[in-house]
Every structure is written in structure tokens, then in C-alpha cells.
Amino acid sequence: MVFSSYPFLFGFLPVVLALCWGVRLVAPPVVAVAVLAAASVWFAGYWGWHYLPLLLGTVLFNFTMSWVIHAQANDRARKAVMLLGVAGNLACLGYFKYAMFVVGNFEALLGTGFGMAAIILPIGISFYVFTQIAFLVDIWRDRSRPYGPLDYLLFVTIFPHLIAGPIIHHKEMIPQFRSSGFGRFDLVSVNTGIAYFVLGLAKKVLIADNIAPIADAVFAAADQGLPVSTLEAWAGTLAYALQLFFDFSGYADMAIGLGFLIGVRFPQNFDRPYRANSIGDFWRRWHITLSRFLRDYLYIPLGGNRHGFPRELLALFVTMLLGGIWHGAGWTFVIWGVLHGCYLVIQRLWQRLNGGKPYDDGSRTLGLGWAITMAAVLVAWVPFRATTLEGMLGIWQAMAFTGPALPDAWRWALGPAADLLDQVGIGFGGAGYVRLRLWASAGPLLGVALLLALFLPRSDIMAESLFGLRRLAGSGRFVFAWRATALGAAFFASVIYLGYHATFLYFQF
């Protein structure tokens, strides 16, 4: 049950909101915590009840470990228990997410099969395991007192974030469960939540899902080892980059919107990443909560910038490599992580050569730095999307102008201009996996999506200022009526475009 589905929109969500707001009319926040925890567990179970024992098992394990860490008198024991807890989480993640990959590689290396049964990846495991590792580390590091079982259960399972983040931090979440506004119907919050949710839904359904066919067609062809033209390769990669952004940031906006509806603030996860002027800037804008996690729980423990320049570069590289592996068990994700690690190392070296001056000075101009960053990010999205190494190489080769520049199907559409292009050396070839009809329908949307990704204001500005009522207080009745109507129309447009298999891309991670 994804957020952009009929069962969620017209079933689960109204029922949960009615229950939550209803109990808060007569009961304290703790009752709403119980209601939402039950709803969240049901939401997790809806994906497959067989996922629940693992989810609830990790909750029980980490909850118990937090109290065991807290109960230890000396530092060495505290650290040992914390490490045991982290190891338990990593073992769980390792088994469900990486065991098949590791065994598969051994099988390929040794030329033999171990007959290992397929392991189904439990949905959201990367997110809830990371959330809980951070929790255990903080309990150990900050010597803070653990929370009650209901609060902790809701913190881990809270349905807006459970499946695809944002990766939340207990310190910013659990205190909210005791605030007076938690679970209550507050008109300003509800309106803001609706604005966030509808904007996210529109991003996902109207933009991401409609440009996806271009990326799907190109990468499916390349993954099957079929030839792809240069234009298709670049367009397919750009389509995927935009699909991923609108899909994932749309999901994050919906999660934040749902948070407002139940009186909880989730952290922002995106800040116009495709406007980044450097790769470091990109990572401050893309999947912000993951970057924050990687920084706090990997980069800094690995030494950060405290142990000299070479160690800093190593820490950066290893952090990104592990970030790549976190996304999936496959060589393509390893390559994606390595690429970003290399990009960040090159940037730091460049800064060093440049006297420590960062290239990304915060300017918003789309200059050379932006162009280089975009190109680097696009090149790296290829292994992220390709399902085979052959597909990845096929797309990269096509991007590097090693084959025909334009798909053969375009020859017909271009008419006499095609001969002219042929004469100047711009060749046609491949079979044109992106059909002319698809170019005609999704092509213009690709351009619009790129402009929106570059120039659309950040989600919080859109939702809280453009549609948020606090800022509208001084404006006339017509303005708020018009905006509310536009939002209602956007909701309607999203509903009639809801796909039948519209899962979110980040669910697979």
C-alpha cells in the first residue's frame, strides 16, 4: 500500500486520521501514540505479514539493548554492549540484504553452486535498521535515558517514514509524541499537511510516473545488451535522474505532509539538488537525512577531518562506498558509491589546490560548476539504475558518442532534415526503444520536469509559504480560495493519473 494508491488515500489514511483525531479529543497524547503505533504496524503488515516478525523483532532487540547499555556502570561494558547491538543490527541487514549477493559472488568465483534459497528483502529494512543503529549509538554516546516501549515502537514504525525514510533521529521525533499538538486536529497543520501531501503526490504521479517510461525503455534495452543511441542514452539517464528526484522527493513531501496531519514534524530530505554547484553541495541537498546519517555515524567515526588530509580523503571515500552498498547488494551500487567517493575526493583535492577555498560558495548561478556537477551526477546515475554491468557499460558507451547519435525511428520524423544530419556525420541507428509516440508524450514533460527541478521553490517554501495559511493571512479571500482550489484540482489530477503499479523507487533500498 503506497501513499499514491486508492487503498491508502481512501481507506487507510481517513480511518487512521479519524481515529487519531478522535481519541485526542478525549484522551492524552499517549493514547494517540498507541493508535498510531497500531496503525503503523498494520501498515507494515499490509505489505506482507511475514515481514512483521523481523520488524518487531528488531524493535524488541534494540529497545532491550538500549536499556542494557543504559544499565551498565562502566564505559567499557557500555561500549561492548553497544557494539553487540550494532553488530546484531548489521548481521540482520547483512543476512537479508547482502547474503545472496556475497554467496552469488563466491559461487561465480568458485564455479559452483551452494544451493542457497532465495531471501526476500524485507521492505524498508535499510531504513529501520539504520534508524535503530543511530539510536543505540546515541544512547551509548550521550548517556541519555532510553524511552518507553510505546514511544520507541512508534518512533521506529511510524508509517509515513517506515518504508522509504526520511531517516529520522530519535531526539527530533520522540519528544514530539508528548507535545500537546501531537495527534490533534489543528487546522493550520492540517492545511499545511494537505499542501505538502498534494504537492508530493503530484510530483510522483504527474511527473515521475510519466517520464519513467523513457528511462525504463532505454535501460531495459541496455540491460538486455541491445544497442542504444547517444540521444537515447542521455535522455534515458536524464529521465531517470528526474524520475528519481520527483519520485523520492515526492514521497518525502507526502511523508512530511502526513506528519503535519498527525502533529509530527519530519525533517526535510531535499533542497533542489540539481541546482548544486559542486558534488559536496549535491550531497547537502540530496537525501539530506541519509547524508546526515553517513556524516554522523560513518564519516566522523572514521576520523573525519581530524587526522590529517589523507585520512580525511579515505574517510570520505569509504563513507560513500558504504553509502553505495547501503542502497543495494550489487556491483552497480558499489560502482555508484565508488564514483561518488572519487568525486568528493577530487573536489577536496581541488579545494586544497585552490587554497582551501570551496568551489561551492553558495551562489545560485547555473555556471560551469553546475554543469560539471550535473554531468558527474548523471554519469553516476547510470550504474544506480542499470540492473546489469553490461547495461551500465552499454549506456556509458552510448553516452560517449561511440555509436549512432540518434535513434533510427527519428529518421522518419525528421524527414529531409535527416539526410542533412547524415551528411554532417550525425548518424542514425539502433532500433529506437523510445517510440516516437513516447518521445512526443513524455519528451516535452522531460523538459518541463528539468525546469521544475531547477527552478521550483523548495518543498517547504511551496507548502508552508505558497499554500500555508500563516503567510496568507494578509492576502484577500480570493487568493486563498484560488490556491485551495488549485490544490484540490492538483489532488484530483493526481488521483485520475494514479498508476496501477506505481511503487516508489526507494522502496527497493
Binding site: N191, A221, A431, G432, F480, G488, V495, I496
Partner: protein
């Protein structure tokens, strides 16, 4: 809530009103017009059926097939599956000629992967006697799109489908035609200054040349044929007649590939209208384009198929294995 600003209440009211009204109106209009014939069968060539058929012929045909099956409950029926070349066969005529019920589930643009899924779906859903599976050479390409899984989902969720843009679009076109008399025509192909056969063959050449042999799809095809045999369903592969220039292109430009195609057909029960014995019976003048007969010659194909279904391997199996 009591302290809420009237503007805040107004915002929520306007949003809810807009969303509910538009969504409710769409649902109501689509249920009333019923462009895909969910509640009652619609003829694909009628004003009421043509827009939906053109917008999503897969879905239209599958829904129509369900209605037809409801009328033939308890009977073992036979179906034709394939692309537009198989869709030329008149199922009613075939029913009359073979004295058993036939339904034509073929539609324009059906790729190999789609027909494989369709055969499996239909076999799982209904008791069948025989399937004539149109498998023209041009469809043997890897990586063609397959929209059947999504279509099957839509068949099973009629209420959800009433809230889709596709239904709304079809309803609008039906209402426009009914109320304003503005007809709906399937967009015509722009062939530039070339004759239709030359244009289509040039495109077919580039499409087939650019795409590999569909190895994976053919493995699925074999599995599906095996499953049909297990279920006691007779499957006949059909290579429909094509324009002589089309045959010539396949035999000369794609000789090796075409030989592979013929080898594939030879392994199964097949009605091949491109065999030397048949070819003279389908001269160029009978064709509207590279692979479709003109209206006046289409009945000939139905008759030829009915006759060919008399060969031993095409006789329906009597019992499941």
C-alpha cells in the same frame, strides 16, 4: 479548532469541495457513459465503443471477452490471439464455418510477450478448446513493450478504472460524438510521399534489424505451449498472409532469422499462409498495406483458416493429458 481563522476553515473547505466534486463528477460521468463497456458490452466499431477501443484496445478486448464468456458460461470455447493480422479474422464467420464458438481476442500492436501473457491469462481463466495464436515474423523481436500485466489489473478493478484519466478521456470523446456529433477517427499514419507498403517495409526493416532474436520470450512461449498441452488445450500457431513484397523482404534481408522462424513453426502445429503452397493464393492486389487484406478479401482469410483447421494436428484434443 475553535480559534481557527475563518480563512483557514475556508481553505480546507475549498480544497475539499474541489477535490470531492471533481473526483465524484469524474466517477459519475465514467459510470454513466461506461466507455469501456464495463456494465454492458459495447461494439468496438460503434460511436460508444470506438474511442475506448482506440485508446486502449487491450483493455477493451479483455472486457468484451469477459462479457462474451458470460454469455457462453459452461461452454468450452476457442479464441484467436495475436496482432492486427490475426484480428482480420471474423470470429462469427469462423464460428459458423467450424460449428464451435470462437472469439477474436487479437488487437493491433500485440507483441510477442503480450500474446504469451494473454494466452496464459485466458487459459487460466476460462475452459478453452483451442487457441489460434497469430505469430507473424515481424513480431519476433526482443524487448517489445508488454502492457498486459497492467491491463489484467485494470480488468479486475472496474471501480478504480472509473477514476482514471483514460476512462475520462474516452467518456469525453463519446459524449462529444453523441451530443455534438463530432466523430472520432483513429489517427492516420503519415507516410510522407511514399506508398504505404514501401513506408511500412522500411520501418519494419529498421525495427527488425535493430532488435535481436527474442530468445527469452521464445522460452516462455515454449513453456506456455507445454502448459496448454497439459490443460488439454489445442494450440495452433498461425502465420497470417502478408503482401508478397513483405515476404520477399523477410526472405532476402533477414534470411537467417527467417529460417529460424520457420524452424520454430515446424516444431509445432502450424497454419502457415506463407508456405509456397499458399503464397499464390494471396497476390498483392488483395492487400491494403504490407500485412493487411482489404475488406473484401478478409472473409477469404476466415474461410482459409476454417479449412486449414481441419488438418490433424489442429483438431482439438479431446481429453487433458
Amino acid at each position: 479548532m475553535d480559534k481557527a481563522n475563518p480563512m483557514e476553515r475556508g481553505f480546507l473547505a475549498f480544497f475539499t469541495l474541489t477535490a470531492v466534486l471533481l473526483t465524484g463528477l469524474t466517477f459519475g460521468v465514467n459510470c454513466y457513459v461506461d466507455p469501456f463497456g464495463r456494465w454492458a458490452a459495447v461494439d468496438e466499431s460503434s460511436v460508444a465503443g470506438k474511442p475506448a477501443y482506440t485508446l486502449n484496445r487491450r483493455l477493451f478486448k479483455l472486457i468484451a471477452f469477459d462479457h462474451w464468456m458470460a454469455d457462453h458460461a459452461g461452454e468450452r470455447v476457442s479464441v484467436l490471439i495475436g496482432d492486427s493480422t490475426t484480428n482480420q479474422i471474423d470470429a462469427d464467420d469462423l464460428t459458423r464455418l467450424t460449428r464451435r464458438p470462437w472469439y477474436n481476442l487479437a488487437y493491433g500492436g500485440a507483441g510477442l510477450a503480450e500474446t504469451i501473457d494473454l494466452v496464459a491469462y485466458v487459459m487460466n481463466r476460462h475452459p478453452l478448446t483451442q487457441i489460434v495464436w497469430g505469430l507473424p515474423f515481424a513480431r519476433l523481436i526482443a524487448g517489445a513493450e508488454n502492457d498486459i500485466p497492467r491491463t489484467i489489473d485494470m480488468v479486475g478493478t472496474p471501480l478504480r478504472h472509473m477514476l482514471t484519466f483514460e476512462s475520462l478521456h474516452a467518456s469525453y470523446l463519446v459524449l462529444r460524438a453523441t451530443w455534438l456529433g463530432i466523430g472520432f477517427e483513429d489517427p492516420k499514419m503519415d507516410t510522407g510521399d511514399q506508398d504505404i507498403v514501401t513506408y511500412q517495409l522500411s520501418r519494419a526493416r529498421s525495427e527488425i534489424a535493430g532488435r535481436p532474436w527474442p530468445g527469452e520470450e521464445l522460452v516462455s512461449l515454449e513453456d506456455t505451449l507445454e502448459e496448454a498441452q497439459d490443460r488439454g488445450v489445442s494450440v495452433v500457431l498461425l502465420n497470417p498472409p502478408v503482401h508478397p513484397r513483405t515476404t520477399e523482404l523477410y526472405r532476402t534481408s533477414f534470411a537467417e532469422r527467417y529460417a529460424g522462424y520457420l524452424t520454430l513453426l515446424e516444431r509445432h502445429c502450424v497454419i502457415d499462409f506463407d508456405q509456397a503452397a499458399h503464397r499464390a493464393a494471396w497476390p498483392a492486389r488483395m492487400f491494403l498495406d504490407a500485412s493487411h487484406l482489404t475488406i473484401e478479401y478478409k472473409p477469404l482469410l476466415t474461410r482459409a483458416l476454417a479449412q486449414a483447421l481441419g488438418v490433424p494436428c489442429a483438431r482439438p484434443l479431446l481429453t487433458a493429458r
